[in-house]
Symmetry: C2
Subunit: 236 residues, 2 copies
Amino acid sequence: MKIDIITTGNHVTPESVKNTTVIVIDVLRATSVIISALKNGAKSVVPVTSVEEALETKKKLENVILGGERKAQKIEGFELSNSPLEYGSTAVYDKNVILTTTNGTHAISKSSAANKVYIGALLNARAVSEKVAEGGDDVVIVNSGTNGQFSMDDFIASGAVISEMLSIRDYELSDVAKTALLIYKAHPDFLSYIREARHYKVLMDLGLEEDIRLCLHKDLYDIVPEYKNGIIKLNF
Amino acid sequence: MKIDIITTGNHVTPESVKNTTVIVIDVLRATSVIISALKNGAKSVVPVTSVEEALETKKKLENVILGGERKAQKIEGFELSNSPLEYGSTAVYDKNVILTTTNGTHAISKSSAANKVYIGALLNARAVSEKVAEGGDDVVIVNSGTNGQFSMDDFIASGAVISEMLSIRDYELSDVAKTALLIYKAHPDFLSYIREARHYKVLMDLGLEEDIRLCLHKDLYDIVPEYKNGIIKLNF
C-alpha cells in the first residue's frame, strides 16, 4: 500500500484518485469544522461549492443550518461561519449542516471518484489513520490548499497523519509524502512551521487565534467522517 | 517580487507562468545535462518531447548530435544518453544537441508562455539566482518532477536556488517555496534528503552514482542557459 499527497484540491482529477482511499485535509478550517460538527451531534454535513447551491440545498432538506465562509469570514444570511468553535452541540445537534468554503468543500467534491473519501484533520489524525489501515487501498491525502495553492498547514497535517499511519502498518511513501513526514518530524509543535503560512497570517489578522489553537489540537476527537453521495456522515 | 514553485511539469499552464520569469529545474538530470553541454561548447540545445520529433529536427539542422533517455537509459540510435558526463567538449563542442528526456524537456516547453525561461540546476544555482535578480519579474521555479510526480531532488534544488536568491535581494515566498527552503536548510548536503527519492534509487540501481555526484555539485558552473523560440542557448 502506498501513500501519496496531492497538495491542492485544484490538481485532483478522477484519474488521480481512482481505486484509492482519499483523506481530504483542510486543517484551517473546513475539515476541522466538519469533524467538530459531527462530534457535536450534527446528523450530516452537506458540502456545497457555492452560496447559491447552499440556498437551493436548504430547500430540499429539513432541520438545516447554513455554515461557511468567503475570504475567511461569515457569509451574509448564514447562521455559522467557518469557525469550529461555533459548531457546538447547541448550534448543530441533530441538524443537517450545509457548508460552503473556499477550498475545503471543493476538494471534497473533486475527490468523489475514489473508493472511499474520509475527512481528516489534526483533530482526528490517529482515528483516520486507523480507519484507512482497515482497508487495503492505496491512500491519497488531498490537501485542500489555499486558493489553488500549496498550503503549509495542510502539508504538515498530512505529515502528522502519515506518521500515525506508519505507526500502524508499513506503507510505501511517494516523494511528496516523505517530505511532509520530514516537515512534521522537524516541527512536531506545528506552530513553528505553520506561523510562516500565508493562510495562518490571514486568520491571525482576523483575530482567529482560538480557532487555530483548536485546529492544531492533534487527536482531540476519535471520529472519522465519510463523504458519500454528496453527504458527510459518521455512519452510512 | 515573489517566488513560487510548481512541483511537476504536468501542472504548468500558460496562465501559471504568464508575466513571470521561470527557472526550470530537472536536477537528475536533464537541466544538469543542458548546462554541461553549453558549458562545454555546444552551440545550442534543442529540447524536443519525442524521439520522432528529435529525428525530424535532425533533418532541419546541421552539425547535430542526438541525446536523451527513456526510462533513464540511452535511446536506440542516439549518440548520447542523459548523463552530463557524456557531454564533454569532445562530444558536443560547436554542435547542436537535440535532447529528449522523459520529464525535463516537457517542463521546458510547457513553460514557454513566461517572459523568460532560464535553465537551472545545482550546477548553476548561484548564477541563475543572479540572472533572475537582474529582471523585475516574479519568479516561478518549475520542477520537472518524475513521471508527473513531485520529485525530492528537484524540490531541494529549488530550495538551494531560493537560498541564493534571498542572499541577493528580498523576495516574498509562497508556502511551497518556504517549505523547499526549509528542506534545503535542514539538508545542506543534499544527499541525506535525496537518497530517499524514488528517482535517486532508480539511477543508483542503474549504476549512475557518478552522474548524481556531478549533478549535486552546487555552483560548479557560472553559466545560465536561456530557452527561447524552441532553442536553448547562452546568448541570443
